[in-house]
């Protein structure tokens, strides 16, 4: 029962952030939140299986899955970038411990997205894939973003973090580049039909997430002038 009430407290803290002047989330809360986050992260995958079993993948399932995996990659990426601002707004430093899983889910869906392209668009023909990457900026940008993410995923363990020291942080800041490339990739995809509504929404969310970081970065300097 004790853990349960703590968990309720934790939810309440998320809903009414102003009520938490002092951090209330402990390692126990995070240990509880992780399995839940994992289930949430599996939602897109489970949804595809459900749609597959109920004839819901449209009459062009391969296109649907290719696009859907791209969309969910972007959603996970935005969620990953939301962790730090959320930590600060709610004054809950422990939240940062959920970020790795968000990042790994981003990588997971990016991998599925890449595989969808390689399989359903290119029939796994390496020469065609290479040609597509070289010839089409739309694909080039996506593949570059994936490779950067691959580097981050490979160094996501605690051991790698310790071993790399300050280089770890330097490498993982490349997430900002990945985010910008993802938006460009999506924008190029939509450009042919001048259909920019969705990509604009994602772009604005990203601008807000990056803008907050810029604002925070500038803030101490401004304070210094006073």
């Amino acid at each position: 029962m004790a853990t349960r009430s703590k968990w309720l407290q934790c939810i309440a803290a998320w809903i009414w952030p102003s009520s938490t002047e002092v951090p209330t989330l402990s390692a126990t809360h995070i240990a509880w939140a992780k399995p839940l986050l994992f289930v949430a992260g599996m939602y897109p995958l489970l949804r595809w299986f459900y749609l597959g079993l109920t004839d819901g993948l449209t009459v062009n399932p391969t296109e649907f899955l290719t696009r859907s995996s791209g969309t969910w990659t972007l959603v996970c990426l935005m969620a990953t970038l939301l962790v730090s601002p959320l930590r600060d707004w709610l004054n809950e430093p422990a939240l940062i411990r959920l970020r790795r899983m968000c990042g790994l889910f981003t990588f997971f869906y990016a991998t599925l997205h890449l595989l969808a392209w390689a399989w359903w668009e290119q029939n796994f023909v390496l020469a065609d894939m290479g040609l597509d990457i070289v010839k089409r900026p739309f694909v080039t940008v996506g593949v570059v973003a994936f490779l950067v993410m691959l580097g981050m995923a490979l160094t996501s363990s605690h051991r790698a973090m310790v071993a790399m020291g300050r280089y770890w942080k330097a490498l993982h800041r490349w997430i900002y580049l990945v985010a910008v490339l993802s938006i460009i990739h999506y924008w190029l995809h939509k450009a042919g039909k001048n259909d920019f509504l969705e990509v604009t929404i994602y772009g604005l969310v990203l601008a807000a997430l990056l803008g907050w970081r810029l604002w925070r970065y500038c803030r101490p300097k401004r304070a210094g002038f006073k």
Binding site: W120, F138, G192, D195
Partner: protein
């Protein structure tokens, strides 16, 4: 939907598996109703298709307004099974019902200046949510060169699968140009205009680098954002079926290639 009696044209009886009707009527591009493939089926039911008439104008000896009933009775209906290749890289095989557009064009007596034919799709703002989108400068316009429009393959189309066209497939009258990407086959046509100058189609205006006037199916000329060498046949084998090789002029090379002899098809894409 009402049955539309027709005689199968033995020249166009496909040996390929015909796409299931449910797939051809639920996976459509008809941006007047929205950009999702499922939007046309969802919203087009509200479109008013009767009464309907087609305005024939421009470089013709006999301009005028043709009621849909007159167009239906103009020529005997034939059924033709054509491949349909979408520029997006998917394809279907569809049994259309109609007659060659040339029958109508000859009847209206094109003048010596008639070099091109422009097709304009209807606008019904109250039932077409897509018209609010700025993707296209509405109404939707498409065009063909005169010889393309007069080609026996170019079908003035009133039905599919033995019935009149479902609204989402371009009721009550559309054209079908099987050797070009699907968007060239204008739907729900209200105006046919013969012109001396090449008309600017909606897609040429919207994305000139990506969509040219000709838009012939051509596996050797890639779209700027994807290869056109292969296509996915809708309804063929699910997730594990490999893509098909796209055929030159969508497999109608023998019939149409001569119209483009000497033309650089990469330049005139």
């Amino acid at each position: 939907l009402a049955a539309l009696p027709s005689t199968p044209n033995p020249e166009f009886m496909s040996v390929e598996k015909i796409t299931e009707r449910v797939q051809a009527t639920t996976y459509n591009n008809f941006y007047e109703f929205g950009m999702d493939k499922s939007d046309p089926e969802r919203y087009a039911g509200q479109m008013k298709v009767s009464p309907w008439s087609v305005q024939v104008e421009g470089e013709v000896g006999k301009p005028g307004t043709y009621a849909i009933e007159d167009l239906l009775a103009l020529e005997p209906m034939q059924e033709r099974i054509y491949r349909l290749r979408c520029v997006e890289g998917w394809s279907m095989v569809i049994p259309w019902i109609g007659y060659p557009l040339s029958a109508l064009l000859s009847k209206v007596e094109p003048t010596g200046n008639a070099k091109y034919v422009e097709f304009i799709t209807d606008m019904q703002p109250e039932v077409m949510p897509g018209l609010k989108s700025s993707v296209i400068d509405w109404p939707y316009r498409e065009g063909l060169r005169m010889d393309e429009a007069m080609h026996p393959l170019t079908l003035l189309t009133f039905g599919m699968y033995g019935e009149v066209l479902p609204n989402q497939n371009g009721a009550p009258v559309r054209i079908v140009v099987p050797w070009k990407y699907g968007f060239k086959s204008a739907k729900s046509i209200v105006t046919i205009r013969l012109t001396e100058k090449q008309p600017t189609s909606s897609w040429m205006q919207s994305a000139p680098r990506e969509y040219g006037f000709y838009s012939n199916v051509n596996p050797t000329v890639p779209h700027p954002r994807w290869s056109q060498a292969t296509e996915r046949r809708i309804g063929e084998g699910g997730l594990f079926a490999p893509r098909r090789k796209t055929l030159m002029f969508n497999g109608y090379e023998e019939q149409v290639a001569s119209m483009y002899s000497g033309m650089d098809l990469a330049k005139f894409y």
